[in-house]
């Protein structure tokens, strides 16, 4: 057992923190929230130049040959910086899924494009309505059409779909949960996009497939048996979101403690009042516990160990811990923290978005219950 980063990971963390500190100011974040695309081509190219997109992809495709645990460190820094853009979609949802289930040919074709920052990929999984990541809830259908397929239906909350080059579309190909994943050209005219206006100012989209033809060659993984792979995608994505959230809440703790040391009332720093101290202590406990449970799940994923329970624990825990943290962070910051000028709001909004992404606390509590045999 070891709960500290390796030297290499510390270096990665430092590089990422310096780079993002330089390039990803809150002014930039705001611009990206207000822009149509939600990201900067220039920054995207620079990130590719640093090898970030390919960090956790194998060297044989041009990647950095590091693992999910290393990527976790990078995601944490991105969360800390509130980095906007399609990194998460392209790498965690796209690249790692192609690596997981793609054929050798597909990997050779698509992974280098991801690694070099040439293409943006995302995952079209969730759909309108309120359901919880089960195969039976997939209604977007890929109907067999003369040996090929025709996709119809609506996906919702698809991140960065409007700028994507490829979509991994999870579709029903057989009644009773026969699921197949297709890798489709996102620019196809049979797909319509609408960007939603979200709490985090990120770019979640509605994606409508209208009789879009796809070929057998576009199938990623196994025909009708794709749900297992989709679950692994959700699992990786949930842990990836946890990593971003760890970076987020760690920064919020630091901001809040700094503020408590500086802000004076009754002629003393408010951080000298016991009630504020205990709020901060509670925040620190939530941050550390979220960090360890997140990294435990990331480590297990990285090692290829079965980890449904640990992933569920991490996401369930951080989803509620972050709510507690933000309640206290805002209380300690006072009125300034609820203004649009203050940095705290960027974190507050993003934490809520991450909390509901890829399964919330209620969803994962039930996963834990199943794992306990309840």
């Amino acid at each position: 057992m070891k709960l500290t980063l390796t030297e290499e990971q510390e270096m990665l963390r430092k590089t990422a923190r310096d780079f993002l500190g330089d390039k990803c100011s809150k002014k930039f974040v705001k611009e990206m929230e207000e822009s149509e695309t939600g990201y900067s081509r220039e920054l995207w190219r620079e990130m590719a130049g640093l090898g970030w997109m390919g960090l956790a992809l194998p060297g044989e495709y041009g990647g950095g040959d590091m693992n999910f645990l290393d990527l976790a460190v990078l995601l944490e820094e991105m969360g800390r910086a509130c980095l906007p853009g399609p990194f998460f979609s392209t790498v965690v949802l796209g690249g790692l899924s192609i690596l997981d289930i793609g054929s050798e040919e597909q990997k050779r074709e698509y992974l280098p494009q991801v690694i070099h920052g040439e293409k943006i990929v995302t995952l079209a999984l969730t759909e309108p309505g309120y359901h919880n990541y089960d195969a039976s809830s997939i209604s977007v259908e890929a109907a067999r059409d003369d040996g090929n397929y025709m996709i119809s239906g609506t996906k919702l909350f698809v991140p960065d779909a409007h700028i994507a080059d490829y979509l991994l579309c999870v579709a029903k190909t057989k009644p009773k949960s026969g699921i197949t994943i297709f890798l489709v050209d996102a620019k196809n005219l049979g797909i319509k996009y609408a960007v939603l206006k979200t709490i985090a100012g990120d770019k979640l989209c509605e994606v409508v497939f209208d009789q879009m033809p796809v070929t057998k060659a576009d199938i990623l993984g196994r025909v009708d048996q794709g749900w297992g792979a989709a679950q692994r995608m959700v699992q990786r994505a949930a842990v990836g979101k946890c990593c971003e959230m760890v970076g987020n809440i760690q920064r919020v703790l630091e901001m809040t403690v700094d503020y408590a040391k500086e802000r004076k009332q009754f002629d003393r720093p408010i951080g000298s009042f016991q009630v504020i101290q205990h709020y901060c202590a509670d925040m620190a406990t939530d941050v550390d516990s979220a960090r360890f449970s997140t990294y435990q799940a990331a480590w297990m994923l990285s090692e290829g160990l079965p980890c449904a329970k640990e992933v569920a624990i991490a996401k369930a825990w951080i989803s509620e811990a972050s709510q507690r943290i933000f309640a206290l962070a805002h209380q300690i910051h006072g009125a300034i923290g609820v203004t649009i000028e203050h940095d705290l709001q960027y974190y507050t909004r993003r934490a809520k978005a991450a909390e509901v992404a890829f399964g919330d606390a209620d969803f994962y509590r039930d996963v834990v219950a199943k794992e306990m045999g309840l």
Binding site: V257, M300, I313, A316, A369
Partner: protein, 385 residues
Amino acid sequence: MDFGFTEEQNRFRQEVRDFLEEEIKNGYWVPTCDAWVQGFSPEFTKRVADRGWIGLTWPKEYGGQGRSHIDRLVLTEEMLRYGAPAACHWFGDRQVGGAILSFGSEELKKEFLPRIVRGEAYFGLGMSEPGTGSDLASLQTRAVEDGDYYVVTGQKTWTSCASFAQYFDVYVRTDPEAPRHRGISEFIVDAQSPGVSRIPMSDITGTEAWNDVFFDNVRVHKRYLVGEKNRGFYQVLHQLDYERSGMERLMGNYPLFEAIIQFAKDNKLSREPVVRSKLAQLQIEFEVGRLLIYRVALVMEEGRAPNWESAMSKAYSTEFEKHVASVAMEVLGSYGQLAPASKSVPLRGMALHSYLGSKGYSLQAGTTEILKNILAVRRLGLPSS
């Protein structure tokens, strides 16, 4: 990072489990909540000692095994999982032995450590006093030098395991003129010394949980001074870090946790969404807390005393234990109010015992409020209030 255990650690865990299961099978004891502090069994302690499992991390020259703090945590985790009656050796193993090792003279180490390791020396703590709780530096028990002896007079309270302790680790004022933090010293006092008397005190469950311990002109030889004279306050802070460090803060009522999950399964209650959600939440909280405690062991493994780390894990964990007891009472409904000896009582009355007993978990070994102060100042650098 690596959240796994080595092959050797896994084997060791299995070895401990096999031993404990065999003990239960033989009917030597029944898994019980709070058995680490209330389960008095010299025979069990002796059998544990025979396996070399007391003083596991101590150097071999004093009878220890020189093993890692992770190994010790694996051991104690299993003891707690099975609710084993480990109270005779728990305090000596957890903290007094370590204090002697860190601060004691060579003579003291040779006198006590091998005997603790053999399961032959039981300790109680003499820290709190009637007027001294969280503000430990205010203690009034006096020790006055008299030739080769100190003469100790005063009263200690909340002393766990006092009725069977053979020794007390006692903090007393040796310099009343000095600033209060700088006039305290630590002594090992033989419980049989003339002038030592004890009065048992029952906790809210009716269990004899503590004693008041009185010292009436008790003569203690100078060689039983632990560490430097008047440095006792700094030594006790160090010792408290260890007192708070362990899994007993998370798993003191583990037998109840396990039993209530089984009860819910057996009675089909776990299909009810509310019960299901509550039990899953407990499991989440348990596993999160476990990581906080393993972090503490890793800090000790680096050779550092855990400070804010054990403050954090202890404050967190005692809330979990209270939560376990509350959920158990909720799941049991009206049956929760039944006492261990009652007709119709489920789970041997563990829920009632734990519900009442757990009120004290966040008070002993540092109140949660004191622990949060430590976190605020030591971890976060906030100004002292």
